[in-house]
C-alpha cells in the first residue's frame, strides 16, 4: 500500500544498502553474553536450539535406558538410577515421550535447522524478526526449565503418558502428582508458544525476504518443508492450546471441562490432543524429508526427481494430515461409525508419503553416489522410514488396530518413524552442515563408526518390540511378571535383546559427541563449499559472519542443477550468472 508508513516496500532506497558489510554494532566486538546468550543472530539462536535439543536428547535417552533396563531385568538396581518404582516408571515413559517429541525433534528439526538454514538458503542476512526470534528461544528455554523442575517436585514427575488423557491428568487424586502434572502442562504450553512465534517468523521470512531473482520454485526443498511444517503446526496447535488452558483450569480451579461427573467429557481432550498430535507427526517428518532431499541430491550429483512433485506431495501430506486424527482413538470409545471414515483417510495418507519415498529413491537413479557420512545417514533414513511407514498401515486399518492398539507394535512402528526423523535425518543434517556451522570438517572414520554403531542396534532394538507387540504386550507396564502370557522366558529374551541393543546404541553416541566436540576445535578447516553444492548457504564464508554474505546474492536458477549436460563443473550454484 502506498502510504508513507510502509517505507519498507521495495523501491524506495538505494542499492548500496544491499551490499553493506554487517552493520556496525554487530559481529566480532560484542561481549560474550551479547554474542552467545542474547544474540539476535539467527545462527546463534539456531545453535542455542541445537545444543538445548541435544542436551534434552541426552536426558530422554537416559530415561529410555532406565526404563528399558527395568523391563529387561525387572526390579533390579538400574546402574545410575536405582530401583525403578511404578510411579517413577510412569514418569520416565511420560517424560521420555514428551521430551523426545517436544524438546528434541521440534527444536532440532524445525527451530535449529529452520533458523540456521532459512536466511542462509534464501540469501538474506537474518530472520525477518530477529528479536522475535530471540524471544522464541527464551520462551523455549523457560519451558525446558519448567519441565526439568517438574521432574523433581514432591510427588514426582507427571506420569499420565505424553497424551495426558483426563481425568487422570486433570485430577490430583487420580494421578497423585499434583505439582508434576501442572508443571508438565505449563511446560508444554510454553513450548507451543515458542514455536508459534518461531513459525510465524519462518513463514514470513520465506515469503518476503528471498534474494532477488529467487522464485517460489527456486527455494530449496528443505526450506519449503520447514515452512509447510510451521504452517501445519500453526493450524493444528491452536485447539490444543485452548484445550491445555481448559485442562490447567481443571487442575487448578476445579472446573469441569473434562470431568464426566459434572457434565464434562474426557473424550473432548482426546480429540483436541490428536487433532494436534497427528499433524505433529508430519510437522517433524517434512523437515526430515527436506534435509534428506538436500543431502541426497548433493552426494548423488543429481537433480531432485520432480521438484514440483515433492512440493505438492508435501502440501498434500500437510492437508490430509488434518483428516486422520481419530485413528488414535479407534478403540477409545468414539462412535464406531466414525472409525470407518478415519480408516479411509488414514490409509489414503499413504499415497503422498509413498510418493515422497518414491521420489527420493528415483533421485538416486543415474546418479554418481558418494557414500560420505551424511549420505549414509540420508540413505538410512529412507531404508528405515520405509519400514516405519508400511507398518503404519496395520494401525490405520481399524480392524487390525483393535488388536494392535496400545501394544508394542504401535511403539515399534512410531519409533521406526521417529528415530529416522529425529535422529537419523538430524545426523544427516548435522554432518552435512557441520562445515558451514563451525568452519571445520568432522572426522569421516569416526562418523562411519558412529553410523554403523547406531543403525545396527537401532534395528535390533525395535524388531524385537514388533514381535512383542504381535504377542499382545501392551504399553506402559513397568513389569510383565503379573501377566502369565507375557512373562514367558522367550518373550523376556526379546526384551533383553532390545535393552542390550539400546545400551550399545547409546554407547556409540559417545563416539559422536567426541567427534562433534573435537571437530569443532580441531577438525580440518573447511572451505566455503566443500561438498560442491548449489544452494546459497555455501556461498557465505564458513562459518558465516553476522550478516552472512559479503555481497547479497542474486539468484539465477533452481537449487538442484547438478550434472547439467555441456558444463565442465557438475554443479551450478544458484547465484552464479550464466
Amino acid at each position: 500500500m502506498a502510504q508513507p508508513a510502509n517505507q519498507e516496500a521495495p523501491g524506495s532506497g538505494t542499492r548500496q544498502s544491499e551490499t553493506l558489510a554487517p552493520p556496525a554494532g554487530h559481529g566480532e566486538h560484542e561481549g560474550f553474553f551479547k554474542k552467545y546468550l542474547f544474540s539476535t543472530d539467527h545462527k546463534a539462536i539456531a545453535k542455542q536450539y541445537l545444543f538445548t535439543g541435544m542436551f534434552m536428547g541426552l536426558i530422554g535417552a537416559f530415561m529410555a535406558y532406565t526404563f528399558r533396563f527395568q523391563l529387561a531385568f525387572p526390579g533390579s538396581h538400574v546402574p545410575g538410577f536405582g530401583v525403578v518404582s511404578p510411579n517413577e516408571y510412569n514418569a520416565l515413559v511420560t517424560n521420555h515421550g514428551s521430551i523426545m517429541v517436544f524438546w528434541v525433534a521440534m527444536p532440532v528439526l524445525i527451530a535449529a535447522f529452520g533458523n540456521y538454514l532459512i536466511p542462509l538458503m534464501l540469501g538474506c542476512d537474518d530472520m525477518a524478526f530477529p528479536r522475535l526470534n530471540r524471544l522464541s528461544y527464551q520462551v523455549f528455554f523457560l519451558s525446558v526449565v519448567v519441565l526439568l523442575i517438574s521432574l523433581f517436585v514432591p510427588g514426582g514427575g507427571f506420569g499420565g503418558a505424553w497424551t495426558a488423557y483426563p481425568p487422570l491428568s486433570s485430577k490430583a487424586e487420580y494421578s497423585l502428582t499434583p505439582l508434576g502434572s501442572t508443571l508438565w502442562l505449563v511446560a508444554v504450553a510454553l513450548e507451543f508458544v515458542a514455536f508459534l512465534i518461531g513459525g510465524i517468523n519462518f513463514v514470513t521470512t520465506t515469503m518476503n525476504s528471498r534474494a532477488p531473482g529467487m522464485k517460489l520454485y527456486d527455494i530449496p526443498i528443505v526450506v519449503w518443508m520447514i515452512v509447510i511444517a510451521s504452517l501445519v503446526f500453526m493450524a493444528s496447535v491452536g485447539p490444543l492450546v485452548a484445550g491445555a488452558v481448559m485442562l490447567l483450569f481443571d487442575q487448578l480451579f476445579g472446573t469441569a471441562f473434562y470431568d464426566p461427573a459434572r457434565g464434562g467429557d474426557p473424550l473432548l481432550w482426546q480429540h483436541l490432543f490428536w487433532f494436534f498430535g497427528h499433524p505433529e507427526v508430519y510437522v517433524v517428518l517434512l523437515p526430515a524429508c527436506g534435509i534428506v532431499a538436500e543431502v541426497i541430491t548433493v552426494f548423488s550429483r543429481k537433480k531432485l526427481f520432480g521438484y514440483k512433485t515433492v512440493l505438492y506431495t508435501a502440501i498434500a501430506t500437510g492437508i490430509v494430515s488434518f483428516f486422520v486424527w481419530a485413528h488414535h482413538q479407534f478403540v477409545a470409545g468414539i462412535d464406531p461409525r466414525m472409525a470407518n471414515v478415519f480408516t479411509a483417510t488414514t490409509v489414503i495418507i499413504s499415497l503422498p508419503v509413498a510418493e515422497m519415498v518414491f521420489v527420493l529413491v528415483a533421485t538416486l537413479y543415474g546418479g554418481s553416489i558418494k557414500l560420505t557420512t551424511p549420505m549414509l545417514w540420508a540413505l538410512a533414513f529412507i531404508a528405515e522410514f520405509i519400514i516405519g511407514g508400511v507398518t503404519g498401515l496395520f494401525l490405520g486399518a481399524s480392524g487390525s488396530d483393535i488388536y494392535l492398539h496400545d501394544t508394542y507394535f504401535v511403539l515399534a512402528h512410531f519409533h521406526y518413524t521417529f528415530v529416522p526423523i529425529a535422529i537419523i535425518a538430524v545426523f544427516a543434517g548435522l554432518t552435512y552442515w557441520f562445515p558451514k556451522m563451525f568452519g571445520r570438517h568432522m572426522n569421516e572414520t569416526l562418523g562411519k563408526i558412529h553410523f554403523w554403531g547406531t543403525i545396527i542396534p537401532f534395528n535390533s532394538i525395535f524388531i524385537p518390540l514388533f514381535l512383542l507387540g504381535l504377542a499382545g504386550q501392551h504399553r506402559r507396564i513397568y513389569s510383565y511378571e503379573g501377566f502369565p502370557e507375557l512373562a514367558r522366558p522367550e518373550l523376556q529374551q526379546l526384551r533383553i535383546i532390545a535393552t542390550v541393543s539400546l545400551i550399545v546404541m547409546l554407547c556409540f553416541q559417545l563416539v559422536f559427541l567426541f567427534n562433534f566436540v573435537r571437530s569443532m576445535f580441531r577438525g580440518r578447516i573447511a572451505e566455503r563449499n566443500p561438498w560442491k553444492a548449489n544452494t546459497l548457504e555455501w556461498v557465505a564464508a564458513s562459518p558465516p559472519p553476522h550478516g552472512n554474505f559479503e555481497t547479497m546474492p542474486t539468484v539465477y536458477r533452481g537449487p538442484y542443477e547438478y550434472s547439467v549436460p555441456n558444463r565442465d563443473e557438475d554443479y551450478w550454484p544458484q547465484n552464479q550468472p550464466a
Binding site: R131, D265, A578
Partner: protein, 171 residues
C-alpha cells in the same frame, strides 16, 4: 540494540520515515543476468506495481469508516432486540447471522481484507475451515450423548438434574 526481551519495546535506533531503505536489486543492473532471474524480477516488479495499484484504488474505494461503524451499531441493535421475541429461529438468525455480517464488515473495511492480496483471506478462511473440520469430527462423540453402542449416562444425568433444578427455581 539492547538485550531487552521485551519485543514490543522499540529500543533500537529510530528508523524514521525518510531514512533510505533497502530494496530489491534494480533490474537494469543485471541486463546480462540469466533470463530466469530477469523474468523473476519482472514478475516481482509486476507484483509490486499491482500492489501499489491495489492500494491506490483502495484509497478511493474505501468506504467511509464512520459509515461502516454506524451500520455496525445498527446491526448491534438488531442483534440485541431480535432475540427478545424469544423465537428460536429468529434468535439464531439475528444473533449469529448478524454476528457473521458484522464480522464480515469489520474484516472487509477495518481489516481491509477486501484490498489485501487474495491469499491472505484464503489463509484465514482455511483456518476457520479447519475448526469446522474439528467440530465435525468431534461433535459425534461430544455433542451427542448417545451413539452406536455407547451411552453417555453422566452427561444425560447432568442435563436432567440441571433442568429439574432450573424448573424448581421457577424459571
Amino acid at each position: 540494540m539492547t538485550s531487552s526481551p521485551n519485543e514490543t519495546h522499540e529500543a533500537g535506533p529510530p528508523a524514521s520515515g525518510d531514512e533510505p531503505r533497502a530494496r530489491e536489486a534494480d533490474p537494469a543492473e543485471h541486463a546480462q543476468a540469466a533470463e530466469h532471474a530477469q523474468a523473476a524480477e519482472h514478475a516481482q516488479a509486476a507484483e509490486h506495481a499491482q500492489a501499489a495499484e491495489h492500494a491506490h484504488a483502495a484509497e478511493h474505494a474505501h468506504a467511509n469508516p464512520v459509515r461502516v461503524w454506524a451500520i455496525l451499531c445498527a446491526l448491534l441493535v438488531v442483534s440485541v432486540v431480535g432475540p427478545m421475541a424469544e423465537i428460536r429461529l429468529l434468535t439464531l438468525i439475528t444473533a449469529f447471522g448478524i454476528a457473521g455480517v458484522k464480522a464480515y464488515l469489520v474484516a472487509k473495511h477495518f481489516l481491509r481484507l477486501g484490498v489485501e492480496r487474495r491469499y491472505v483471506a484464503y489463509a484465514l478462511v482455511v483456518s476457520v475451515a479447519f475448526m469446522v473440520l474439528f467440530f465435525a469430527g468431534t461433535a459425534p462423540d461430544v455433542m451427542e450423548h448417545r451413539g452406536r453402542l455407547w451411552t453417555n449416562h453422566a452427561a444425560q444425568k447432568e442435563v436432567e438434574r440441571a433442568l429439574k433444578e432450573a424448573a424448581r427455581d421457577g424459571h
